[in-house]
């Protein structure tokens, strides 16, 4: 069973008579016999009231497209849950999704939640090592995948897992690869689960892996109650209503794609646009108009790529329906906000949250004035502060405006992660004096707006995704040429940060161009392109602390490429 092993931190807020989330809780329906299930709120509720309303409209670069009504989505999720039951996948165990974006992925997410399983998303670009680590760490009972991803990724790691998870292939088309199940055949044969498994607000719902500076990636566990904050922020921050057509470009292998690409907008009852393709300026702009998108949620990397295409090129497309644009994943610089206004006639509104917070915490919300370069203000019900950690582990709060410190949040809010799976000591380290320490550095101005400054640790933020130096270094150290390795971030005008590896070679190995390429290839094969370093810098020795720890900050400062163009964080 996937459970946090007793969160050692007391997270009970002082008794309060006013629950700021009471209205948000009441906005969800709940299961007929009590309890709460995300899939019920995201599909069944609307299927009953508006069965023919469109839940998902998907489109592919090759021109294929289709749509799924709320009625059909609820039916598919019910059959998917029935298929899991037929395979003996028990409620409370974890079902991983290694899928391309598309309707099958939405079915897998909702079907798993409906079965009471814990859904754990995987990014399809992960190489074998990140996949293996997450599948083993999350105790996978089953993995839902596609023929292509089975062949290219999963089949290479599955036999190293003990116990070996069941593998369900969504597009097997009657001919599943050996050792896998044909998901569609199972769903056709299954008895649909008319009612979800009776989950409650505190039942585990999804497990999202995230990266830290040290150690393996951490599985942040979320419960069904997280939907309270996700649903509320979809309405109050993104301003979504059932009449909206909403497009979130993030991949559901990451937390934004899962929460705001699927769960939150479907719980509101709007139409979700899913594009199976990758960034393509011309096609994306065409889609915004063609799909009549009203609210768009994307990333600074996409915004910066669009900027490269130019204001005139963007203006050449029509978006008469577009009302609001949001961005997430890394600080949105002021020029990018203004680019939105020039090219689209709308500002990009920055939002801030992270895997552990489970929902947007700070934002330039719909209806608020946009402050270019700022993260925005805390959403109602969220208490954010700037503090300095004392050596004794306590916090000193910073009251003076524009002073940099740790961004901390006061529990409790419904979508707070309930702990890192099997790592209670790491969960404990995230809290001080009862406050949640986000790991981000920020400042608050005199008007109460927050401004992102950077990470407090050595985690690298590449294209908005956290990359653990440890994971990169471990892969490099597995190469016989490498004596020591350290990974740092280098500012990049498009990706925000690039992963750079600093390597000291073993004797007998020369720092040649050929060696550099061999190490890059080695890392990419193991980690996949998303986590692998883009550049190797050879060094004779590593700068170290007296205790022998490699000083990544020194390496970062000495990186000759770090003087490259840096995205402005303000101004």
């Amino acid at each position: 069973m996937i459970r946090e092993k007793g969160c050692p931190v007391s997270l009970v807020s002082p008794a309060r008579t006013d629950d700021p989330w009471a209205a948000a809780r009441a906005a969800l329906e709940g299961l007929p016999d009590g309890g709460l299930n995300m899939a019920w709120e995201a599909a069944d509720r609307h299927a009953r009231e508006r069965p023919r309303a469109i839940a998902v409209r998907w489109t592919a670069p090759d021109g294929r497209a289709g749509c799924v009504t709320y009625g059909a989505l609820a039916e598919r999720a019910a059959r998917f849950a029935g298929a899991l039951e037929a395979l003996g996948i028990a409620p409370g165990t974890s079902v991983f999704g290694l899928l391309e974006r598309g309707p099958a992925q939405v079915t897998a997410i909702l079907g798993s939640l409906r079965a009471g399983a814990v859904y754990a998303p995987l990014f399809p670009e992960f190489g074998p090592e990140p996949l293996q680590t997450r599948l083993a760490g999350g105790r996978a009972a089953a993995v839902v995948t596609s023929v292509a991803l089975w062949k290219r990724r999963l089949s290479k790691v599955i036999d190293g897992l003990d116990p070996r998870p069941e593998v369900l292939v969504a597009d097997a088309d009657g001919d599943p690869p050996a050792g896998t199940h044909d998901l569609r055949a199972l769903m056709d044969a299954a008895e649909p689960c008319t009612l979800p498994v009776a989950t409650g607000p505190e039942s585990p719902a999804f497990l999202q892996f995230t990266s830290g500076t040290t150690g393996q990636p951490k599985g942040a566990l979320h419960v069904h109650e997280a939907l309270v904050a996700q649903h509320e922020t979809a309405r109050s921050v993104l301003g979504l209503t059932p009449d909206d057509v909403f497009w979130c470009t993030a991949d559901p292998g990451w937390v934004t794609g899962l929460v705001y690409g699927v769960l939150a907008p479907l719980s509101v009852g709007c139409t979700v646009v899913v594009d199976t393709g990758d960034f393509d300026a011309r096609r994306w702009l065409h889609l915004l108009g063609e799909e009549r998108v009203t609210v768009w949620y994307t990333t600074p990397t996409a915004v910066r790529l669009l900027r490269r295409a130019g204001v005139d090129f963007v203006r050449g497309h029509g978006f008469p329906h577009l009302r609001r644009m949001f961005s997430v994943g890394e600080p949105l610089d002021a020029t990018a906000v203004r680019f939105g206004e020039e090219a689209f006639g709308l500002p990009f509104r920055d939002t801030w949250w992270q895997t552990e917070t489970g929902a947007i915490m700070i934002a330039n919300a719909a209806g608020d004035m946009v402050t270019p370069g700022a993260m925005g203000r805390p959403v109602p019900g969220i208490h954010a502060a700037i503090a300095h950690k004392r050596d004794d582990g306590g916090l000193d709060f910073v009251h003076a405006p524009d002073t940099v410190g740790d961004l901390v949040l006061w529990p409790d809010w419904p979508s707070r992660f309930r702990g890192y799976l099997d790592a209670p000591e790491r969960t404990t380290r995230c809290f001080a004096d009862g406050w949640y320490i986000t790991g981000d550095l920020a400042r608050r101005d005199a008007e109460g707006r927050f401004w992102f400054v950077g990470r407090a640790d050595d985690v690298i933020k590449a294209s908005g995704h956290l990359v653990s130096p440890f994971e990169v270094e471990s892969a490099l150290l597995a190469h016989p040429a490498v004596a020591e390795a350290a990974a740092t971030g280098r500012p990049d005008p498009v990706a925000g940060q690039l992963v750079i590896a600093h390597v000291a070679l073993n004797p007998d190995y020369a720092p040649t161009d050929e060696q550099r390429r061999a190490l890059l290839a080695h890392a990419r094969k193991r980690l996949g392109a998303a986590l692998a370093p883009r550049e190797i810098l050879f060094r004779d020795a590593m700068p170290k602390t007296r205790s022998g720890k490699i000083q990544r900050r020194v390496l970062q400062a000495e990186d000759p490429g770090s003087a490259a163009e840096t995205p402005a964080t303000q101004g």
Binding site: E125, G127, D278, F279, D280, A281, R282, R283, T301, L305, L306, R308, A309, G310, F313, A462, S463, D492, V494, A495, L498, R517, A518, L520, A521, H522, R524, K525, G528, A529, A530, A532, R534
Partner: protein
């Protein structure tokens, strides 16, 4: 520039942007991304590298045309011609 030289230039740039790509087993008509590890940042580096290497300017909205060896060769032939 003759076709063989152009192809070699493209392959050399590919080796820079995606060192794990094996030019010998590359299928010319299949997108790079379906054959080896290549994400959007790699692809951007590939196109920017080609611009530098060949002294051409490639607008962002034309990038998708360079998604395969054959696509890149065709696009650049037109551009250089």
């Amino acid at each position: 520039m003759d076709q063989e030289t152009l192809k070699q230039e493209i392959l050399n740039q590919l080796r820079e942007a995606a060192p794990d790509a094996d030019p010998d087993s590359l299928e010319a008509d299949t997108p790079f991304r379906d054959q080896f590890e290549m994400d959007s940042v790699d692809f951007l580096n590939f196109v920017l590298g080609l611009e530098k290497r060949l002294g051409v300017s490639i607008p962002e909205y034309d990038y998708p045309q360079l998604a395969s060896l054959e696509g890149a060769r065709y696009y650049l032939t037109e551009k250089l011609g």
